[in-house]
Symmetry: C2
Subunit: 668 residues, 2 copies
């Protein structure tokens, strides 16, 4: 093996870091043991040459891209079995999550997989909403992949608003069957992953009708295709929805029903039930089905937002230590572009944001697990709080990440525009998450609803849940402002409090005047979104801040993280400066020193930039970008990557004889 | 022909408009005659069935996409000839511009064309920098497309900083030839459109060496490929650079030279010259070559930024009047989503921005033309001002447009994520323009440099150029603030003045303390960017405002434009509220009423929303989006579009037998 020569500039940067990289890696992974497990998975899955593309998928036709996604998905699941046998361990949810949602998945199956919803939605819904009998029957088949499922909720004309779904399921007590039907074109299921040509079963959400009454949306297991021939079953109209901005390996599909019958047992009946005679038995709580939705939102924060942002910022930071451009001091030659303060400003806040999202996602994952076990005891108390914080975090983190990825891409100039840079796919995956699993604006408004209630509760002296407890004490502003982290945290709380208070009072005042509450809500909805954003941002700042008081962290790492935490808070403060001037104890004369603080933080973080992204510990095979490889051989790698374009296999393309030559000879 | 049924909700919206659409269309086109000419072109080119894709290009392999781009590009130029014969008019630059840069080009050749640089850079450079003899020889061949050219400046390792280019051109007086050479991998030309497999000639920028001295970058005409066989000539190493985020029909290429000789006459010598014996004769002014660069930047504001943004907002606005979702008032059913205030906030500022960009681009186009004719008289006075304003406008408009297109896309939910929605290609084309022809941050800093000088000039009592004249009078703030347009304009000027003054003073102070000026410049560069942005935004607001005093505009249109102008100014004020609170006469207690003003403007514009985008007058063939078609038959069109996916031609894809069936049978 030939020793790889590392770019000298990049190597020099690696000498500048002043903290223990492994310590940060372990912190981000959740412990040294988790780091080791992750590395083992990377070694086993990602470095397998079977997953390497001979021709990068972007050069293939759409149909061939799909076939390649199916091939690789099968391969991945065979390998999962090998891995389990090797490790002598059973299937674990974490393993599938790691492979489908996070770093590993993004490396192995870059453009998504048609199998994802089988694990992310089909199986969890069976587990969460099926009776014991249903679980016994279906989960075994699904777990061993004898059947491949998807989850069909969204319709061509209906998304976020679940009550608006049109697909019907009428109970026929004579045959003890449900009849699924698509009454309109807009009622066609549209978007489910794997639905196009891959899955043969689906969990279908439909309006349940029995005994002449509609009981709203319920879930039904429906077979879509013959298990032997894969032909669509009678009454099933099915296909894929076409090319998208990203995720073109996912095989999203459409599905229409022409009076398709399924046995009564195919309704998931853990909560609500339909008895043989058609009697409807209500669910003890309509909140019980929230679980899966919250689970997916929590998973998105880590598996999509934090993952792709950390990839993007790793690529852009390393590239910025190799790329040279222009001059700072005349006659001193072209510096590496990370020396430019504008470049630091484009990158370092996203290094900080990657870490902030990682920390917050760990926190909310813990909360999710404890609330879920409380739920199983019948305790629903903390569900609204979990719902509120998961909504705003999903919205804020996915939109930050999408924006951050694009800023990182643009910070790498033209080369970032190349598909091989890995930015376009990262953006495609991340911006999709701004829409799916609750469109972000809708999610902000869900959180606002909770915050308005919380503000009313404060006024009534009620005891507050932890994530909104700050509303009790941050209405007043203590002058003067000082440039330190506790003041930043307090300013975030003051600003969130002010925005929540103001909009609540505006809404209340208008309603008191006799306006229809829903109209008032709509009228002020842009302010409500601002209030929710401020709440979410304060949450992220607080969680980041909390980590600094963890006594197990070494002083050197604490210093680095402290600077990043301050940068995170100062950056977003200055981006939203107006609201802080209106609502916090920051005054106009303080602004200059806060702007200077930001500049000095960029300077402070500068020597650790490469070490920080190195500590994210993302293998080259996962980054999969000539711009971001560990060795910094950017130009050689870009050139070699271009040679993989099939157009470059011949010096003259056949289009010359066919079109171009006659054209040039035509003497136009 | 079957009468098309128009969606009823959309039809109803069309009844709500209260201005004459044709009047606005004419205003945006620059007069009724121009509207007519444009429509004639659309009729002739865009509605030609030869340009319709049987299979949308996104389903093709990369190689086939290129071939299709070549086929269509040839077709387009044959049609241009037909058109000229029909109209009995000669070639006109405007015609090529319309077809290559604007609406028409985006419709006919969606993913860009390998011929674009031939017209946009190769021909203009010959015209601008060639001697009369050179023009006589080359322009005829190029104009009739006997040769196909490109413009090779950017290198693998060098972009914006032209002085850093590495390609050399050594003069050999014995043979009266230049020897072009690529001394390193990073010196390979990289990115020029059409260079990969299409062009057979290029204008190459290289470091000129003669008589042992380097004279910097000069332009040389180089033949790349044999005219008969299209084989690369000896010493020419050429290929394409690979797949990108967008523009995959452009065939961007790379190019290396192994001591390639061209005759002395191939150096473009209108300005600088090399005599037979190798004597170098300097150009009378180094500013003379600025022309083409400024031309392209000005063209980008209209042809890319305004064009794609207006397409995006048309699609999103119409879709928002068809799509129904959720409830505002309980029990009243799902309203069209444009009823949501959050949706109005996502769309209407971009309707206003499209118009603002259109107005500003007309203004700067006029300035460009008059400065160019002054240049020909040897008068360079206004060149720095034109340069400064074209830099910031290009940066601001491309970044606004890219952001606006993405906001419009996300405002259409999941369906906007489909390739057929037309948003992804619009974003790809627009975000590319954030980087090419001067990376945006670099451009902002060019403008800042001019602004700092301007501030010094104000202090010295010198007379000011029109676009910075406001610096003379907007340092003081007159209280109290009132909610009206003149106050807005003034607040923009105050804020720009404050930011320019503050950063200039900071820089001066540090330099006075003995710091190296270039280091200080770098230290404060993020503030310098803010100052340039504020200057550009004030310019856009002022130009929009000016149009309202045009006496030929009817009162009803003036009302509509007035509301849009106010919304534009209020929206960006609130987005940058902090700076306004620091630098303008707006005080914290004024903020509430400005936020309310924004809400009431959204409400005021609401009834005209569809009429406004209808008045943009973009034909369905140009929009090319099921979501935005004039008839609003969104769902039928989306469904039909999905049927065009080749994967949907068979109920079961061959990957089932090959991969999926064995997998499902493997009992994993």
């Amino acid at each position: 093996m030939v020793a790889i020569k590392v770019n000298e500039d990049l190597q020099k940067e690696r000498g500048k870091g002043n903290f223990n990289l492994e310590e940060l890696t372990n912190l981000l992974d959740g412990g040294a043991e988790k780091t080791e497990q992750r590395r083992e998975l990377v070694e086993f899955f990602v470095k397998d040459p079977d997953f390497k593309d001979k021709i990068p998928v972007e050069y293939l036709s759409y149909t061939d891209r799909y076939r390649e996604a199916v091939r690789k998905s099968c391969l991945m699941f065979y390998k999962i079995k090998d891995y389990q046998e090797k490790k002598k361990s059973g299937s674990s949810v974490e393993l599938y999550q790691a492979l489908l949602g996070g770093m590993l998945g993004s490396a192995v199956i870059k453009d998504g997989t048609p199998f994802a919803l089988h694990y992310v939605m089909f199986l969890p819904t069976l587990m969460g909403q099926g009776t014991v009998e249903q679980q016994a029957y279906w989960i075994g088949k699904a777990w061993n992949c004898q059947i491949l499922g998807t989850y069909a909720q969204t319709e061509l004309g209906h998304g976020t608003y679940i009550r608006g779904l049109e697909t019907t399921s009428h109970y026929d007590p004579d045959n003890e069957e449900f009849i699924l039907h698509s009454p309109t074109l807009t009622s066609y299921k549209w978007w489910p992953g794997g639905l196009g040509h891959s899955a043969n079963y689906a969990i279908v959400l439909a309006q349940l009708h029995t005994k002449g009454e509609c009981h709203g949306i319920h879930a039904f297991i429906v077979q879509l295709r013959d298990e032997e021939t894969h032909m669509p079953l009678p009454g099933i109209k099915i296909g894929e929805i076409g090319c998208k901005l990203g995720m073109n390996g996912v095989n999203q599909g459409y599905l229409g029903f022409d009076k398709v019958r399924v046995p009564r047992q195919n309704m998931l009946m853990k909560n609500a039930k339909v008895l043989k005679d058609g009697t409807y038995v209500k669910s003890p709580s309509d909140k019980l089905t929230y679980g899966t939705m919250i689970f997916v939102r929590v998973a998105v924060v880590r598996g999509i937002a934090a993952t792709y942002l950390s990839k993007a910022v790793t690529i852009a930071t390393r590239y910025s230590c190799v790329r040279r451009q222009s001059e700072i001091r005349p006659g001193e030659g072209e510096p590496i572009i990370i020396e430019y303060r504008t470049q630091q400003y484009k990158l370092f806040p996203w290094i900080a944001a990657s870490i902030a999202m990682n920390i917050a996602s760990t926190w909310i994952w813990d909360m999710y697990n404890s609330v879920t076990s409380e739920l199983e005891q019948g305790d629903l108390d903390r569900l609204p709080e979990l719902h509120a914080i998961s909504c705003v975090l999903k919205a804020l983190c996915t939109s930050d990440a999408a924006r951050g990825i694009e800023e990182c891409r643009k910070a790498t100039g033209g080369h970032g525009y190349m598909t091989c840079s890995a930015f376009p796919a990262a953006y495609g995956m991340t911006t999709a998450a701004e829409t799916y699993e609750g469109e972000n604006t809708v999610l902000y408004l869900q959180t606002s609803r909770y915050l308005m209630k919380a503000w009313h509760n404060v006024q009534n002296g009620q005891s507050m849940s932890p994530t909104v407890k700050y509303l009790e004490r941050h209405s007043e502003r203590k002058l003067p402002w000082t440039n330190d982290l506790p003041s930043l945290v307090s300013a975030y709380y003051q600003t969130a409090t002010g925005l929540i208070r103001d909009v609540t009072e505006k809404v209340d005042k208008r309603v008191a005047k006799g306006h229809i509450p829903e109209d008032v809500w709509n009228y002020y909805s842009n302010m409500l979104v601002l209030a929710a954003e401020a709440h979410g941002r304060a949450f992220l700042v607080q969680r980041f801040c909390d980590i600094l008081s963890n006594k197990e962290i070494s002083p050197s790492l604490r210093n680095v993280l402290g600077a990043l935490c301050e940068l995170y808070a100062v950056y977003w403060l200055l981006k939203n400066l107006g609201h802080f001037l209106v609502h916090s104890n920051i005054r106009v004369p303080d602004v200059e020193s806060i702007m200077d603080w930001q500049d000095s933080l960029l300077q402070e973080i500068r020597p650790n930039a490469v070490s920080l992204v190195d500590a994210f510990d993302i293998a080259d095979e996962i980054l999969d970008s000539p711009l971001g490889a560990w060795d910094g051989n950017v130009y050689e790698r870009l050139f070699n990557e271009a040679q993989r374009s099939p157009l470059n296999s011949m010096p003259v393309d056949e289009s010359f004889e066919k079109y171009l030559k006659p054209f040039l000879r035509s003497n136009l």
